[in-house]
């Protein structure tokens, strides 16, 4: 076979002095990097993705994974990946695929935003001693409330509140379908969501029967493939989400190849075993905003107006006007996915070059909805690049009601953001359906780690609120006065609606 001229990215090395020939690396690597040579472990370093499974499971710390020092000749214009990608495409003639969010060095505005704190004129609040409230309700809110006098002469609420999703924390887990991730990974999310009083999202792969017990912590998704959608499914969770787009691949559909459709996934998706699961780029019954309105109301009819309907879109240039249209079309929640958001599989050209960052998108959408006087009509979820509690606090201050956590949740399960989710070989058992790999991910154990992470972020968020001198998250939401920009140009400050540091 012709040896690939695309140089390996990583060098897997085993210290033969330390190696005890236990073969755990061979067993653990989902990529087939290691094999047994009779006397020692053989390494096919071309296959290594640096997911570090072998490194962590080597009992002797004999393994190191290094970035390959062999690079093409230095060139400020033709970088390593420019050249390597061309070589790969010359060999395959195909679209280059990738997983996870973009790794390109676009500026991350979260890292240029700083949060205010109280000194003297207003007191900070100590979250260890005072209540600090993070409860969040997602859904349409009436602009005003009406009360009436009851027969007992007491004032009673007259306004009927639209359905809401109650969250104990302003976080939700981002949609990740069964198929793109393993059932164990979905179970991990479901267990954690229930324990934390938040919600997970099925993604577009339908709802596996083993997840049904967590239905009060689940949003079910309807995407262009309509996998697993039926009346029971629509009514199974606390809300229904229509997926129009995804930040990592705006305007692009999905393709789960037939070899990844075993019986269980086929049943959940309601398609024959071994057929390709194709999600068309657009939803073929939505070619316009009025079509979206019809689907929103079809779902509301099917759920008897008991569940909020969310619409998920990718953050694109015109996101503010699009979001406004979605709200006017009747959506109760607008889920906005920034271009740095994760994916199980996307063409890297699309992932790295289409869309806009979540920071700009949230700011633009929140401001537009306020200008139009309809901000109360829908909640906004910020997704795509929330890496820490600080990012979440900044997104909320820019105007989000809640933040979606996808990649960070997977990292608690072992993910190292190697970006090879699309291969189905995930050695951590997350983005694979190979039973010998998925069995590694014990939902009970990993749910605990995920809960730990969200607890940690919750504590941090409370510290931030306390420093800001506020004790309820609604006082942070959209409060851009508490943000300042460092090193931003005037126009970016204007888009974010914030002042530069020092003002």
């Amino acid at each position: 076979m012709f040896k690939s001229l695309a140089t390996p990215e990583f060098l897997a090395k085993i210290d033969t002095e330390k190696c005890i020939r236990c073969k755990r690396c061979i067993q653990n690597c989902g990529w087939g990097v290691y094999s047994w040579g009779g006397n020692n472990v053989l390494i096919d370093t071309f296959k290594c993705v640096k997911c570090l499974r072998c490194y962590h499971y080597c009992p002797e710390e004999a393994i190191t994974i290094e970035d390959n020092p062999v690079r093409y000749r230095n060139n400020a214009n033709w970088g390593f990946y420019n050249i390597r990608n061309i070589k790969k495409q010359a060999e395959t003639g195909g679209i280059l695929l990738t997983g996870m969010g973009s790794d390109m060095p676009y500026p991350v505005l979260f890292d240029s935003l700083l949060i205010d704190a109280c000194q003297v004129t207003n007191p900070s609040i100590d979250p260890l001693r005072e209540p600090m409230e993070l409860r969040t309700y997602l859904g349409k809110k009436p602009a005003r409330l009406e009360f009436e006098k009851g027969p007992d002469g007491k004032s009673k609420l007259k306004t009927k509140m639209p359905p809401q999703i109650k969250l104990d924390l302003p976080f939700i887990f981002a949609p990740m379908s069964y198929g793109s991730i393993s059932l164990n990974a979905q179970k991990t999310l479901a267990i954690a969501a229930k324990e934390l009083g938040i919600v997970m999202n099925t993604g577009e792969g339908g709802l596996h029967e083993e997840i049904y017990p967590y239905r009060s912590n689940i949003i079910v998704q309807v995407a262009s493939g309509r996998f697993g959608v039926n009346p029971d499914y629509l009514n199974a969770g606390v809300a229904v989400e229509i997926k129009i787009g995804q930040g990592a691949k705006p305007g692009i559909g999905g393709h789960l190849p037939g070899e990844k459709i075993p019986l269980d996934i086929a049943k959940t998706r309601m398609i024959p075993v071994g057929t390709d699961a194709l999600s068309p780029a657009p939803q073929h019954d939505i070619y316009s905003i009025e079509d979206l309105r019809q689907l929103i109301y079809a779902i509301k009819e099917a759920t008897n107006y008991t569940k909020p309907v969310s619409v998920k879109i990718a953050a694109v240039h015109n996101v503010a006007a699009i979001a406004s249209g979605i709200v006017r079309a009747g959506a109760d929640i607008v889920y906005i996915d920034g271009f740095r958001g994760g994916t199980g599989a996307a063409p890297s050209t699309i992932r790295d070059h289409l869309g806009i960052p979540i920071e700009h998108a949230i700011a633009a959408v929140d401001e537009r909805l306020r200008q139009e006087g309809i901000r109360n009509e829908a909640s906004i979820i910020a997704a795509g690049g929330i890496r820490s509690s600080a990012d979440a606090a900044k997104a909320i201050a820019l105007g989000a009601d809640a933040c979606a956590i996808g990649t960070a949740a997977l990292i608690t399960m072992g993910c190292t953001v190697c970006g090879k989710c699309y291969t189905g070989n995930c050695s951590w058992g997350i983005t694979t359906q190979r039973p010998e790999l998925t069995v590694r991910l014990d939902p009970e154990i990993f749910a605990e780690r995920l809960i730990n992470l969200i607890h940690a972020w919750t504590h941090e968020l409370k510290e931030i609120l306390g420093a800001l001198g506020i004790n309820a998250v609604e006082s942070l939401r959209g409060s851009r006065e508490r943000l300042r920009g460092v090193g931003m140009d005037a126009q970016t400050l204007d888009i974010l609606g914030i002042k530069p540091a020092g003002r």
């Binding site: 109280c118 004129t121 207003n122 007191p123 609040i125 005072e130 209540p131 409230e133 409860r135 309700y137 809110k141 009436p142 602009a143 005003r144 409330l145 009406e146 009360f147 009851g150 007491k154 004032s155 009673k156 609420l157 306004t159 509140m161 809401q164 306020r370 006087g373 901000r375 109360n376 800001l468 001198g469 506020i470 004790n471 309820a472 609604e474 006082s475 942070l476 939401r477 959209g478 409060s479 851009r480 006065e481 508490r482 204007d494 609606g497 914030i498 002042k499 003002r503």
Partner: protein, 361 residues
């Protein structure tokens, strides 16, 4: 560019008196009480509001306007002439006092919006809505003109100076009212501007306020969604407009509005019984952006009563007292005892629990 502003920060002392039987008293009492708290201010702002002071014109809106220069007066009066019937206009009576050397040009007008004129034709607005629009317009669009009082049978008197100087300057002992509020100010970041002193008023709402609202940013943006223009950049302005929105425009009663502005904690709401819990949950959902978070004590006056309110964890002082038909509220008990040495009852209201005193029918 509504985000590019410099917010005004200040600490303060406040006091309020209401005679529930409607008995009118002159301005010397409130002045005496407020002057006891001179160390809570720094001379960069003091003011008073009084209700019942213009019985002769009680059906007309009393505009108190300050002008930086005569040209601003010309422009503002041009606008008023087109849109209002002006029953009477006069320079505000003042007296020279020590400590006040420079002051704006101060006029007052007793007016009524014309029924079918000019801007009125553009929208079907009630008199109150039209007056609010006028206040927003003149304050934000006419440079150097500022309406600091716009209610009926009430008025605000405020400026840069210590409480005694401001009271003397405006000759408050010549006015008689059944509700009085007073305020002395300790701004930390603004040179004294007469308009920046408290009380802040809109129609017959008046607010005196001690504290810094840490949720100012979102409160401001929430109000802007309903067409309010926040020109003063003070927390106090936010308080006044929030009351205006919730009580006048949304029709909430005052206790309900208070629970939106200083909301109970979820743990307490969850323990409430059915209807009450549902109502409180809805209030927090719908009016979350109106929640005033951070330290404050405020006195909110209106033609029929006086309300004292603390933030939800009581980060600023507020004391109340009753003597006969009179209710007192103040930052410090000492300032109440200065004018009412032996009240029937004195208490410190709990966090977020409003003290509501209303005129007897």
């Amino acid at each position: 560019m509504s985000y590019d502003f410099q917010k005004d920060i200040s600490g303060c002392g406040l006091v309020g008196i209401i005679n529930k039987d409607g008995k009118r008293i002159d301005g010397s009492y409130i002045k005496k009480s407020l002057c006891l708290m001179n160390d809570r201010g720094n001379g960069l702002g003091a003011g008073y509001a009084a209700y019942g002071i213009y019985p002769k014109y009680k059906d007309l809106y009393a505009f108190h306007i300050m002008y930086d220069e005569p040209s601003a007066k010309t422009i503002a009066e041009e606008y008023l002439k087109i849109n209002y019937h002006i029953e009477k206009k006069e320079e505000m009576p003042t007296a020279p006092v020590e400590g006040i050397t420079i002051h704006p040009i101060l006029w007052r007008y007793f007016v009524k919006p014309l029924a079918q004129k000019a801007e009125r034709e553009m929208a079907d607005l009630s008199d109150d809505d039209f007056v609010v629009r006028t206040v927003m317009k003149i304050n934000s669009e006419i440079d150097g003109a500022y309406i600091f009082s716009s209610g009926k049978n009430m008025g605000a008197f405020k400026g840069v100076g210590m409480p005694s100087a401001i009271a003397g300057f405006f000759r408050l002992e010549e006015y008689e009212g059944y509700i009085w509020t007073g305020h002395t100010r300790f701004p930390t970041n603004t040179p004294g501007w007469w308009g920046g002193a408290h009380p802040f008023t809109l129609l017959d709402w008046s607010i005196v306020h001690n504290g810094e609202i840490s949720s100012y940013g979102i409160n401001k943006r929430y109000l802007e969604m309903y067409g309010y223009k926040l020109t003063l950049l003070t927390d106090t302005e936010v308080v006044a407009y929030l009351f205006d929105l919730l009580v006048r425009r949304h029709g909430l009663d005052i206790p309900t509005a208070c629970t939106a502005l200083a909301a109970p904690f979820w743990k307490n709401i969850d323990d409430m019984d059915g209807d009450k819990r549902d109502a409180m949950t809805a209030i927090r959902m719908v009016y979350g952006s109106a929640l005033m978070n951070g330290p404050f004590s405020i006195l909110f006056g209106h033609s029929k009563g006086l309300v004292g309110l603390n933030d939800r964890i009581k980060l600023r002082p507020l004391v109340a007292a009753i003597k006969g038909k009179t209710v007192y509220m103040a930052s410090e008990e000492s300032s109440i005892r200065e004018i009412c040495p032996s009240p029937d009852k004195v208490w410190a209201p709990r966090a977020g629990e409003p003290v509501i005193a209303e005129l007897e029918a």
